[in-house]
């Protein structure tokens, strides 16, 4: 487990360094993700120590949002005057975004076939 943690933190640090060195708009962890992905593709497999730590973290991803999101809740009363405008705008936007990105994938030419083939494989 420690070895997996060392590897993940190293990729995070590498991402942080690259992001700062080239003053990129993308934060360190996202670059770390890309670097780790490139490493895994080159290596052709996920070593057990990485898998153990990464799976545990990804499974509990929600927990990690809690401290920052509590700050959001404490901030909400300041938005009282615009409550409805904000709620409606966010809801409309989320529904439209999911619908459009989903519809493109579903109705992409040839995709129904890909989906069908995958289902056959699964069966």
């Amino acid at each position: 487990m420690i070895r997996g943690l060392i590897i993940l933190l190293s990729f995070q640090s590498a991402g942080e360094i690259v992001s700062r060195l080239f003053s990129l708009p993308v934060p360190g962890p996202v670059i770390g993700l890309v670097l780790l992905l490139a490493f895994l593709i080159r290596r052709g497999k996920v070593d057990a120590p990485i898998d153990i730590v990464a799976s545990a973290m990804v499974k509990n991803l929600g927990l990690l949002f809690v401290p920052a999101a509590v700050g959001v809740v404490m901030f909400l009363p300041q938005l009282k005057a615009n409550f409805w405008a904000i709620s409606i705008a966010l809801t409309v936007s989320v529904v439209a975004t999911i619908a459009v990105s989903a519809a493109i994938l579903r109705f992409w030419p040839g995709h129904r076939q890909i989906v069908a083939e995958e289902h056959k494989e699964a069966a």
Partner: protein, 241 residues
């Protein structure tokens, strides 16, 4: 000496150490998970939302300022960056199934991202929200840490942007199932990707709890949206506002 004094002293000590904030966060999340599982993973019983409400009630009851709470909970918050790196693993595991899907995924992401910005900004404008709020809507579909950086570059409020990003994540995690069912999407990768485009991390966390492939594609969408948003949103910000 009354026995109340030592207890008060112990309490002062506990509230001052990270222990209390950590314990409160973990207990609240565990409670959120229990309710989520009991409800048969009903999207409305979102574990993150439940945990956040419980923690907010908890620290309000004992008059703990948010800054004090965060001082302790930052150990959990820090791991968010590491967990983002860890998302490379589920994405790698569905790497082979990406063949033939790259172009539709990119188009889906770009159109979804554009729709997310336009609908948010113009709906807010239509309902009379001021310019500060409209600007903060621009980056809200991007994962919060990137959204805050983008907000700074387009001189929007990073705090307000983060608030909208988190709310977007929760709303998306709750509503996604109903929209995807209405559109009759059956493939997990399509469902996951659409959630990730709209609702970044909190949506990904919901997708992970439903199906590993949905989770992996949600993580992929979140990462792609983060990178594309960081580059493209500053370019179009002035045109829209």
């Amino acid at each position: 000496m009354t026995p109340a004094l030592p207890i008060a002293e112990i309490w002062v000590y506990l509230a001052g150490s990270p222990l209390f904030a950590l314990l409160l966060t973990l207990v609240a999340y565990e409670a959120g998970l229990m309710i989520y599982e009991r409800s048969n993973r009903n999207p409305f019983a979102n574990p993150v939302a439940i945990a956040v409400i419980l923690v907010a009630i908890g620290i309000s009851l004992i008059d703990m300022p948010y800054a004090k709470y965060f001082e302790g909970a930052q150990f959990i918050h820090f791991l968010l960056g590491t967990a983002t790196v860890a998302l490379a693993v589920p994405i790698y595991q569905c790497w082979d199934s990406l063949r033939g899907k790259v172009l539709p995924l990119i188009i889906s992401l770009l159109c979804g991202g554009a729709v997310s910005i336009l609908t948010a900004v113009f709906t807010a404008r239509l309902f009379g929200a001021d310019l500060t709020i409209q600007k903060a809507m621009l980056a809200k579909s991007v994962t919060a840490p990137i959204a805050m950086g983008v907000a700074e570059r387009i001189s929007a409020s990073p705090t307000l942007t983060a608030v909208f990003a988190v709310c977007t994540g929760v709303i998306g995690a709750i509503l996604a199932r109903y929209i995807l069912d209405a559109l009759r999407l059956t493939a997990w990768w399509q469902r996951g990707f659409a959630i990730g485009v709209a609702a970044h991390g909190i949506g990904t966390s919901r997708a992970m709890s439903i199906h590993p492939q949905a989770g992996a594609f949600a993580g992929l969408a979140m990462g792609m949206h983060g990178v594309a948003g960081a580059v493209l949103i500053p370019l179009i910000a002035d045109v829209i506002i």
